[in-house]
């Protein structure tokens, strides 16, 4: 039987689950946790969202969340995936954006249509120059594009806007 842990406690447990492809980020930083629901009977439901439709990390994340909950003695739970409204990079937290940049991945640019149309301003995570150039809109994972910096000449990943 599960102890009736407060939602805050559950949230702090979930914050320990890292994204398998960008391990500096937690699933909470990425905005993957939609809701935490606790029933009167103590049953816990964690509602998550996939990032990209075909992202292979989604299933790993689900398994990691289950393991982390079990590790903290919670066994009476369900993890459910909802796709609507569609995940957006706007849900990445301020903390998440800071961690991305420190890790060497440029965080997604400003919100709005300009970004989706490909007119975003991308800042080099190494030298902070704005003088950067798109190499390819597709990168090592579904969520990243490849850029290079014209000033420090370093190639870098950009977490693209969706």
């Amino acid at each position: 039987m599960v102890s009736l842990a407060a939602k805050d406690d559950i949230a702090s447990i979930l914050a320990l689950v890292k994204d398998p492809e960008i391990p500096v980020l937690s699933v909470a930083d990425l905005g993957i946790i939609r809701r935490i629901e606790t029933g009167e009977d103590g049953h816990l439901t964690v509602v998550i969202t996939p990032t990209y439709s075909g992202c292979p990390a989604t299933e790993v994340i689900e398994a990691d969340i289950a393991n982390m909950l079990k590790l903290h003695g919670i066994t009476d739970f369900t993890i459910r995936t909802e796709i609507s409204p569609a995940w957006t990079t706007d849900w990445i937290t301020t903390e998440g954006r800071r961690k991305l940049e420190e890790y060497g991945i440029a965080p997604p640019a400003s919100k709005g249509k300009a970004a989706l149309l490909g007119h975003e301003e991308v800042i080099c995570p190494q030298c902070k120059s704005r003088n950067t150039e798109l190499v390819s809109e597709f990168g090592s994972t579904a969520c990243k594009a490849q850029y290079k910096c014209r000033d420090c000449l370093e190639p870098f990943d950009y977490f693209k806007c969706v």
Binding site: S53, G54, S84, T88, E137, Q146
Partner: protein
């Protein structure tokens, strides 16, 4: 056909389109002209595979016969597939792959934009999620068709040849049959025949910038909605379905 069967058929068409094109793009893995394109084509293929999973899983539930997305993907023979003929055509050279991709991306962008307001909320959710990805796909194929068309003499000639050779597969995308009509009437589906004008405008703009000539409407093929496919689909399925057919019920 019952409403339920038509709903299933409609979802199957959408899911099959994504899966078959995704499989074709996966064939480029390790073979693309440069590393960035290898990543791009497989990324786009992965997005399409993700769409296919959502659509086929839903189709299976609507059908109600206990078929999940894997059962639908790996245990159907050629005649049971409902993907557009365009999408099963072989990759050819990079220009052929980009022409096929542009034609479909431009179509799918409009189709899924329409599906976002479907009365079927689950389908609308899948469409809204996919549309963000399709926006990237369309920009990618558009850029390449322009770059190759307005490139060197060699790239221009090959891009034109690709566009010419796939042009006859375009009209099928905009066909409507009884299932489409019923789905439009129910507020679930999109009237694809009405999308042709906007598709033509988009493609004509790309052709103009790419210095490509719009091909003559001299021939066309159709039949996928009745399961009549080109010979290419059989070979594709033979490869895609090999493992679950050879080792039924194999698990990771």
């Amino acid at each position: 056909m019952t409403d339920q069967k038509m709903h299933f058929d409609y979802l199957l068409r959408l899911g099959d389109n994504s899966l078959i094109l995704g499989q074709r793009l996966a064939e480029w893995c390790g073979h693309a002209p440069m590393l960035e394109e290898d990543l791009a084509l497989t990324n786009i293929g992965l997005d399409l595979l993700g769409q296919a999973r959502m659509l086929l899983a839903y189709a299976g539930e609507v059908e109600g016969k206990g078929r999940d997305e894997d059962r639908l993907a790996f245990h159907r023979d050629t005649m049971a597939w409902r993907n557009l003929l365009l999408l099963e055509q072989p990759n050819g050279d990079f220009a052929h792959t980009m022409a096929r991709q542009l034609f479909f991306d431009a179509f799918q962008y409009q189709q899924f934009a329409g599906l976002c307001s479907s009365s079927d909320e689950r389908l609308a959710g899948i469409a809204a999620k996919s549309l963000k990805e399709i926006t990237y796909h369309r920009r990618h194929s558009t850029d390449w068709v322009i770059r190759l068309g307005d490139g060197t003499e060699e790239s221009h000639e090959r891009m034109q040849r690709a566009v010419d050779s796939l042009w006859g597969y375009v009209p099928e995308m905009f066909d409507m049959d009884a299932v489409d009509d019923a789905m439009v009437a129910a507020g679930i589906g999109v009237d694809v025949a009405a999308l042709r004008g906007e598709w033509d405008r988009y493609i004509d703009e790309v052709f103009a910038e790419a210095t490509l000539s719009r091909p003559e409407d001299s021939w066309s093929v159709r039949g996928s909605r009745e399961g009549k496919h080109s010979e290419h689909l059989g070979y594709l399925l033979a490869e895609m379905q090999f493992l679950p057919r050879a080792y039924p019920d194999a698990k990771w």
